[in-house]
Amino acid sequence: MSTVPETYTIPVGPLHVALEEPMYFRIDVHGETVTHVDINAGHVHRGIEYLTTKRTMLQNVVLTERICSLCSNSHPETFAMAAEQIAGIAIPERAAMLRVVAAEVKRIASNLFNVALLAHLVGYETLFMHVMQVREIAQDIKETVFGNRMDLGAICIGGVRYDLDEETTGFLVAALDRLVPEIEAIVATYRTNGSILGRTRDVGVLTREQGLACGVVGPVARASGIAYDVRAVAPYAAYDRLPLEVHVLTDGDVWSRAMIRLAEALTAIDLIRACLRDLPDGPTRLAETPDIPPGRAIAKSEAPRGELIYYLKTNDNPQPERVKWRVPTFMNWDALRFMLADAKIADIAIIVNSIDPCVSCTER
């Protein structure tokens, strides 16, 4: 006769081998099955919202890029969009195209990173290293075109801070040509490999109704049949003039989310190629750094993980009165309660990774 109870509470995190960033899950399990999840956040809360009100609008373009590394370009881009909305600025067409190029290069690298980690968590280390190697092509693009591997420094209020010349365009085109067959091969592997399918199909399911209730965004939403992509429903930059395909799957499992990310990496390449083909001559930014008058604005963009929204309120001071933003992961955490319900302990890390969590972004 045993005195061991059937129900346990186990901690996952805040520092855990399977988590890249600190987050603490208190998980009640019955046997091997999850019965309840409590999420405790705040381990990388840095008070950046407070800091933004102590810095000028221009300094905040630099600061917001440093909120998070994986979607670093989306933050200054959306912040700049809000400022431009208040000032009534239309950015030059070449700048709009170049913003798309920067955003989509980041999307390729970010999505491949997450899909690579999935292979790692499944225990398929060769595939993990292979996908990371393919991602390295995207990293080379960033390093060569923008000069940095993570923070591109591409955005300024009124346009972009970089330009493409013949040499960088040539490098970019060649790198994209190398990426396409590689990503297509990765798609084929994830579609057929037994190790991947066995650990990801019907695991961590989020139904469409649950997804709508949680307000999930990005690939997590689109893998659950919610066809919401900011680039399509609320176009910005040059997205309304580009061949954007919105990918939607309906099974809502870990596998579907990975497949959406891979498909979006390929679409990102199509978008960059279209930009390079249609890229007009002309200025890349306004001739003068604009003053931002008092006002308020809402700006939204589709970061690699989904909708990023910025609220900006300015007054007569050079510093904004209030800057508030909400990142995709802030919405998607909640969905973990549904995805982890009745999951096996061994699948917890795979399911958590499937929302592509970005803790630094979420906690600011």
């Binding site: 956040a41 705040g42 809360h45 008070g47 919202e49 407070y50 909305q85 239309a90 709508l212 209730a213 949680c214 307000g215 919401y228 900011v230 429903v233 609320a234 176009p235 910005y236 309304d240 308020r296 604005a297 809402i298 939204k300 909708e307 929204i309 609220y311 309120k313 007054n315 007569d316 009165e321 209030r322 508030k324 933003w325 909400r326 802030f330 919405m331 955490w333 909640d334 906690e363």
Partner: protein, 207 residues
């Protein structure tokens, strides 16, 4: 997920009979951003119900403490100048839409609703010590937003099902965004002049 309906202003006024300060603009891409200030914060719930019925998604809640207009006297100490006192008697005290005093102690809660890509922001004004009804029973997505604003400001959200701290530890003093926190305190005095000394030494060596 439909967009903002054309008759939204009428519907908002029906849901909030005490008054709505409505403004909207549509950008060249056809994306509408609308703002609806509420004269009475107690009508927030009925407005939220209206938007819930329209299939809106509560995208974000932004709390802030707008500063008093600059020409008015400072209200945080007894050193007010004589001239300022006289001016205060002449001009009526500044207020937000609906009459909430705008003296640097009141709050502005902006609820950003997404309607198929359009954004409708409903603004509730709260005086110091004010409270507002929780939207979490209606919108799951309000949960973390409301917990976060409660730890940043001295605002009470009534009927929140789980009003624990979100990011900040329970041991940290409340209303962090209402206080001036010196940078050295913020970074736990971990910022030293060591880096500069290193740079200056290197510079002297080079010269």
């Amino acid at each position: 997920m439909s967009r903002i309906p054309d008759d939204i202003e009428t519907r908002l006024r029906e849901a909030a009979p005490r008054g709505v300060d409505y403004a909207s603009s549509t950008d060249p891409h056809g994306v509408t951003v609308a703002w609806a200030g509420l004269a009475d914060r107690e009508e927030l719930l009925s407005v939220a119900q209206l938007l819930h019925g329209l299939g809106a998604r509560l995208s974000m809640i932004s709390a802030s403490q707008p500063p008093a207009p600059e020409d008015e006297e400072e209200d945080d100490d007894g050193e007010a100048e004589e001239g300022a006192e006289a001016a205060a008697e002449e001009a009526p005290a500044p207020v937000s839409f609906g009459g909430t005093p705008l003296d640097g102690t009141s709050y502005e809660l902006a609820y950003h609703f997404d309607l198929g890509g359009d954004t409708l922001t409903v603004v509730a004004y709260l005086p110091a010590g004010g409270s507002v009804a929780s939207l979490t029973p209606l919108f799951r997505t309000a949960d973390w937003n409301e917990r976060e604003l409660m730890e940043c400001y001295a605002v009470t959200v009534r009927n929140h099902p789980d009003p624990r701290r979100l990011f900040l530890d329970a041991s940290i003093d409340p209303a962090v965004l209402e206080r001036l926190i010196p940078f050295s305190t913020l970074v736990n005095a971990a910022s030293t002049k060591g880096l500069w000394e290193k740079i200056m030494t290197g510079h002297a060596g080079a010269a």
